[in-house]
């Protein structure tokens, strides 16, 4: 059997195992984002949004929908990989992979594909929920698809690095709680950065999630605070850097080999 064939079957095996995992625990993985986002749509979109009026020329509900969808995608993709991989490390079941002829790249892609599947799946669920509250008119479907896929990839890779480096369960929640959540809330999900003083506008531009949210919003509504080409390029750079970092850690055996 060729090595390529082994890697392909191994990739599919990891991917299917990951999908089976998040489907088995759908009450923890798929349902909560749907409920949380419904609450956001009701409270911020309908109740408060009516008083806010328009943001960047669109009604507030339409403005926040793309940001909330993107928020669901990135948090689901990240947490899927970080928690699943760390749990496999914790139970030592990752050793099943380590004793097999699985290339580090196959292992990485398998877990990342699993994270992307959950991120994109949750994104679709939240989009369907949002259709109950507003009508979505897609400005550029290719930008929408590209940014969702890239965002899911970047955050799945980030989750993988987190899972590799984590030594206890607390380590898995540190990044989502102290980095991703604040950057998301300050990343233009609920407001346009044009509302901020000039200094804070410049500071906001350092936030990668702002670029993600605005690129996705551009794909949906055709409005953006930033240059989407810069954002897409940045996502590609993140994919490359995180892939290389993950491979370096895997080859070193960080968190895996004694």
């Amino acid at each position: 059997m060729s090595m390529l064939r082994i890697q392909w079957v191994a990739f599919n095996t990891i991917f299917q195992k990951e999908v089976r995992r998040f489907m088995r625990i759908w009450m923890q993985t798929l349902l909560p984002p749907a409920i949380t986002m419904t609450l956001y749509f009701v409270v911020f979109g309908q109740l408060i949004g009516k008083r806010v009026g328009e943001m960047d020329g669109v009604d507030y509900m339409s403005f926040i929908v793309p940001g909330l969808i993107m928020m669901s995608v990135i948090t689901s993709a990240y947490s899927n990989v970080s928690s699943s991989f760390f749990s496999n490390k914790f139970q030592h079941s990752v050793e099943e992979l380590m004793v097999a002829p699985v290339h580090p790249l196959t292992m990485l892609f398998g877990y990342v594909a699993g994270g992307m599947a959950r991120g994109i799946g949750v994104g679709i669920i939240v989009t369907l929920v949002s259709l109950y509250f507003t009508s979505l008119q897609i400005h550029n479907i290719w930008v929408v698809i590209l940014v969702v896929v890239l965002a899911a990839t970047v955050f799945s890779l980030g989750g993988f690095v987190n899972g590799l480096l984590a030594t206890k369960f607390d380590d898995v929640s540190i990044v989502p709680t102290f980095f991703i959540a604040p950057l998301t809330y300050l990343g233009g999900v609920f407001y346009s950065i044009s509302l901020l003083p000039e200094f804070w506008q410049k500071v906001s531009l350092l936030n990668p999630i702002l670029h993600l949210v605005n690129t996705f919003r551009y794909g949906v509504l055709g409005i953006s605070d930033i240059n989407i080409m810069v954002a897409l390029s940045m996502l590609v750079v993140f994919v490359v850097l995180l892939t290389l970092w993950s491979l370096w850690l895997l080859n070193k055996g960080t968190g895996l080999r004694k």
Binding site: R5, E96, L97, A100
Partner: protein
């Protein structure tokens, strides 16, 4: 001549805390062998097996499985290797059958390619009726057998077992021995570590004793046992032992009304004992060794090394 199943040369391992687990060990295991690596806790057995299976990084030296270096040709080496670790290491929430199919997938084998093998292994190891249970629902013995089934799903040529029967009851242990012996008879090279010296004596042809990271003896079990200078037997008698029993040339003592303990030195014949007992109208019902022979030797070797 076929390539050895395992060759280890000058293998060392120093952990990050400075502990020298292996101090340059050398080993060679031929294909088809049933080989035991014995040693007290912390001797370096699991570290050795960990390096072979890719779970532990060596510090220096080389290790080859079926002629492939476990570091530089890791993927080729791993295709020939099945590993049963000491600790349970499967996903507690996965079903028994899925664990086997997933492991096969990591070796490039699809469900359709291994479903017959999975069924055969699960049936042979009495797990077939538990195939749809989550692994956490299994008993300790079942979990041990599941790890063996998982390690065999890709039909490895070399099977590494790190204390495979630890914590299982005698009946299951015996059935696992039979299974491993059958596997070895079919050509699989088996390398095991164990604390049960009886296990090594019963199953293995060759043996290495490791202590404090060094191999202190590597030979055949038969050779090792010939080094025993004395052996103690217990004789259960059909008649009450008379007070004036005489076994000239042997050390012996009465341990019950109908029981005798006799020390036989190397070169002495057991037939001689029976002849003397028969002359005195003493009938022997059964005979057994007082303690595990290998265990005595093992203790002596490790003590002597220290």
């Amino acid at each position: 001549m076929s390539v050895p199943a395992l060759v280890v040369k000058d293998l060392t391992k120093v952990y990050n805390n400075g502990f020298k687990a292996l101090k340059g060990i050398n080993l060679s295991v031929q294909q088809g062998d049933f080989f035991a690596l014995l040693g007290p806790n912390g001797a370096g057995k699991s570290t050795t097996l960990g390096i072979l299976s890719g779970l532990v990084q060596k510090t220096s030296g080389t290790a080859e499985v079926m002629g492939f270096d476990v570091n530089t040709e890791a993927f080729s080496a791993r295709r020939y290797l099945g590993v049963v670790p000491q600790e349970f290491n499967f996903n507690q929430f996965e079903k028994v059958y899925d664990i086997l199919i997933t492991q096969a997938g990591y070796f490039g084998l699809t469900h359709s390619q291994v479903k017959d093998e999975a069924e055969k292994l699960l049936k042979e190891l009495d797990l077939w009726e538990h195939r749809n249970k989550q692994s956490r629902m299994l008993s300790g013995g079942m979990k041990r057998r599941l790890m063996i089934a998982r390690a065999l799903i890709h039909k490895p040529k070399v099977l590494i077992l790190d204390e495979p029967t630890a914590g299982v009851d005698i009946e299951i242990r015996r059935s696992m021995w039979e299974f491993m012996q059958e596997l070895n008879n079919q050509g699989t090279t088996i390398i095991l570590t164990t604390h049960y010296l009886e296990e090594a004596e019963q199953l293995c042809r060759n043996i290495a004793i490791i202590d404090e990271g060094e191999i202190i003896k590597s030979t055949s079990v038969r050779n090792l046992l010939t080094q025993l200078n004395t052996e103690v037997f217990i004789l259960d008698l059909n008649t009450t032992l008379p007070d004036n029993v005489s076994l000239e040339g042997f050390d012996y003592k009465r341990i019950a009304e109908d029981g005798l303990e006799i020390t036989v030195n190397r070169g002495q014949s057991i037939n001689h004992i029976f002849a003397m007992l028969t002359e005195q109208n003493i009938e022997v019902r059964s005979m057994r060794t007082k303690s595990n022979r290998l265990e005595e030797l093992f203790v002596a070797l490790v003590k002597g090394y220290k």
